[in-house]
């Protein structure tokens, strides 16, 4: 936990209070039938870092995330999480999907407590309070709004105090205002709990607003790795907004440049 140096000698940002895990992927390859999705992908993420993955639809963002989650096995290459090869699901990792995936037959509180051992109710209740839904504990998920469901899903993920949180477009289906609210919530909880966060998003502005680094996947590999050295919390004040917009422009320009090449 103290030394977050990976085997590959990349020194991570050594936060003394982080409990996140480092990720190292080397030459990751994955094909589905004839279609090669990951083609020798390399990626290093320091413990406690917040990394956003962007890329065009179908470029393999979710596939990469599922590998890191242990839901899927690479054809070749190595993937290490917290210094161990990731071959299967691991209790230190939690995933938040694009859909909330709440069990409709369980109350909100029971959903948050899913898979928790022992006397879990107070713990689950506390997690619900963190996302501001303490008083909805006994409701059925069916009557919650989309944003509230995602907040429950976030509570369900964080109640396990994961060392790695994987987010696959968790805010994609939400309206703009709810989205900004949720971004603030995620950033706040990340700062508080110090897990490593890997966020897949199609929204470059969101990536830039939340992440320490934005990486772009193209043709099954990482083609852009941009550090966003802005102070937190990124309150979206006047100054911040200009800086964020500049970074966003940089990423977009890169994506679009490739588009131009492709169509030329």
């Amino acid at each position: 936990m103290q030394s977050n140096e990976t085997e590959y000698g990349i020194v991570s940002r050594v936060d003394r209070d982080t409990h996140g895990v480092a990720i190292a992927a080397r030459g990751l390859r994955k094909s589905y039938g004839p279609q090669a999705v990951l083609r020798g992908l390399d990626l290093d993420i320091a413990a406690g870092e917040f990394v956003a993955i962007v890329g065009r639809s179908g470029c393999g963002k979710s596939t990469l995330l599922r590998h890191v989650a242990g839901l899927e096995q690479a054809d070749s290459g190595t993937l290490q999480v917290g210094g161990e090869a990731r071959r299967q699901l691991h209790a230190n990792t939690r995933v938040m999907f694009q859909e909330a995936r709440l069990l409709p037959w369980k109350s909100v509180l029971d959903n948050v407590g899913l898979g928790l051992p022992g006397d879990w109710r107070p713990v689950a209740q506390a997690a619900l309070a963190q996302v501001g839904l303490a008083e909805r504990a006994s409701d059925w998920p069916a009557i919650l709004s989309g944003g509230q469901r995602q907040r429950v899903a976030l509570a369900r993920a964080l109640v396990h105090s994961p060392r790695l949180l994987l987010l696959d477009e968790p805010l994609g289906a939400l309206d703009a205002l709810t989205r900004i609210e949720m971004q603030g919530l995620i950033e706040g909880l990340w700062r508080e709990q110090g897990f490593t966060a890997l966020l897949v998003t199609h929204d470059v502005a969101e990536a830039v607003a939340l992440a320490d680094r934005v990486v772009l996947i193209e043709n099954g590999a990482i083609t852009l790795d941009l550090r966003i050295p802005l102070p937190r919390p990124r309150a979206r004040g006047e100054g911040d907004r200009a800086a964020l917009a500049a970074f966003e422009g940089q990423v977009l320009q890169r994506v679009l440049a490739r588009d131009g090449e492709a169509s030329a």
Partner: protein, 261 residues
């Protein structure tokens, strides 16, 4: 004022036709238009009910019939449920069993009655076997389909959240399949009564069906009609109970929430 009276009217309207029919039936019988050999008067059916209840005969037959129905149902539903769970959760078992079950289910189970009587005689086993067989298929089919139609994303989520195989089954797969299983159960209850009626009418020395067949020999049409009504009421009660289960177990489902409120 106007509003409450219109609500009352709305509740009464569906009952108008049955009441008029029964009154007409009673009138026709009293005036001698309908021979009691064909159809007894409603009042006669009522008095047959009182007579047989008082002698305790009715209750005995009723107990025996219900006992058969539920014993057969319990066995058939359990077998169907377990088979459904098994084929639903294991590809191997599906390949091994499902095709055979699908083929066998095309045989109407009542067509087996002569064979079953040959095997078991006309004792209780034959009736239990027929009921269990009839109940098994709808429960099996709906359990299997229920399990197969559980949202894959929820199962993946359960796995990603570290649920064990048993937990996954109990927390995700079973509740997800429950709406479909309950549809199967309701259907199976209908099959249960139908099979019971056939089995008791063909070969029995007790039970409501026996009571009806016995009464037929003595031209007691009032008892025959009473037996028919009892079957109808039992069927309705079983359906109401099944609906109650749906409302209780599927509270979370918006489709059942209005009914549950």
């Amino acid at each position: 004022m106007k509003k409450t009276s219109s609500i009352l009217l709305e509740k009464l309207v569906p009952w108008c036709l049955p009441v008029v029919l029964i009154l007409g039936w009673q009138a026709g019988a009293s005036l001698g238009w309908i021979s009691s050999r064909v159809l007894p008067a409603p009042l006669d059916v009522g008095s047959a009910f009182v007579r047989l209840s008082a002698s305790g005969e009715l209750l005995d037959h009723l107990k025996i019939s219900c006992g058969r129905a539920f014993a057969g149902f319990a066995v058939g539903a359990l077998v169907g449920l377990l088979l459904g769970f098994w084929t639903g959760t294991s590809r191997l078992m599906e390949q091994l069993l499902d095709t055979s079950v699908q083929m066998v289910r095309n045989v109407p189970h009542l067509a087996l009655t002569p064979l079953v009587i040959l095997w078991f005689g006309i004792g209780e086993e034959a009736k239990l076997f027929l009921i269990a067989l009839g109940v098994m298929f709808p429960v099996y089919l709906n359990t299997f389909h229920g399990i197969r139609s559980v949202d894959r994303q929820l199962i993946e989520m359960g796995r990603a959240y570290g649920l064990s195989r048993w937990q996954l089954f109990r927390e995700v797969i079973l509740p997800g399949a429950l709406p479909s299983i309950l549809v199967g159960v309701r259907f199976a209850l209908g099959v249960m009564w139908l099979t019971l009626i056939v089995a008791e009418t063909i070969a029995a020395s007790s039970g409501i069906g026996y009571m009806a067949m016995n009464a037929r020999e003595f031209f007691q049409t009032d008892v025959v009609v009473l037996a028919i009504l009892l079957y109808a009421i039992l069927g309705k009660l079983a359906d109401v109970a099944a609906k109650g289960l749906e409302r209780r177990w599927l509270r979370w489902n918006p489709n059942f929430q209005r009914a549950g409120a």
